[in-house]
Amino acid sequence: MATEKEQKQPLPPVSVWAPALALSWLVPGGGHLLLKRTGRGLLLMAAITAMFVCGLMMRGAMFHPESGDLLTTLINTGGFIGDLASGILYLLSQWLGYAQPDMAGAVHDYGTKFLVTAGLLNILAMVDTFDIAAGRKD
């Protein structure tokens, strides 16, 4: 029943949700701020930014798309998408020349995972922004 109801909801025009979604990607929590969800937007911004900065301070490595065997392609492309999903945080770190090589060590490894997870959490925030902008959620 719930699935049928969801399917009947028409998708609102792109102009309604695209700006919020784009801002949500570029600035973590920005989409929520644009939609006047200030508290949630600030929480998302603080958590995602803190996670990304911790990843940088742990000297985590950024992924780059790489071809090869299936697993290598999957890990590196998926990791690159995760890094890229952090928006301005990723772009700024690249523009400012952050280029940490992948090194052995638990802290470096945690850092790499923090960087990717910050992007993946931002994707969740983007989905939430879309739901709010499309009127599917308060």
């Binding site: 998302l44 603080a46 996670m51 911790c54 742990m58 638990a106 997870t117 910050a118 939430d128 308060d138």
Partner: protein
């Protein structure tokens, strides 16, 4: 940028904290539910951390 040196436990706690905040904020529909879900997620991370830690310790012999 200063370098951060954390133990496994500290890094995992930080990871759990940030992830729980985001999952709490985006998942539920009321502030009360968000708070409860965020705390629940954090506790789950904490339990998994200790559970898997002990499992690895005991499995290692």
């Amino acid at each position: 940028m200063p370098k951060m040196n954390l133990s496994h436990f500290e890094a995992a706690m930080l990871f759990a904290l940030f992830t729980s905040v985001v999952l709490g904020v985006v998942t539920k529909r009321t502030d009360r539910d968000r708070l409860h879900y965020g705390i629940y997620t954090f506790v789950c991370f904490f339990a998994a951390l200790f559970g898997l830690g002990w499992l690895m310790y005991l499995g290692h012999g």
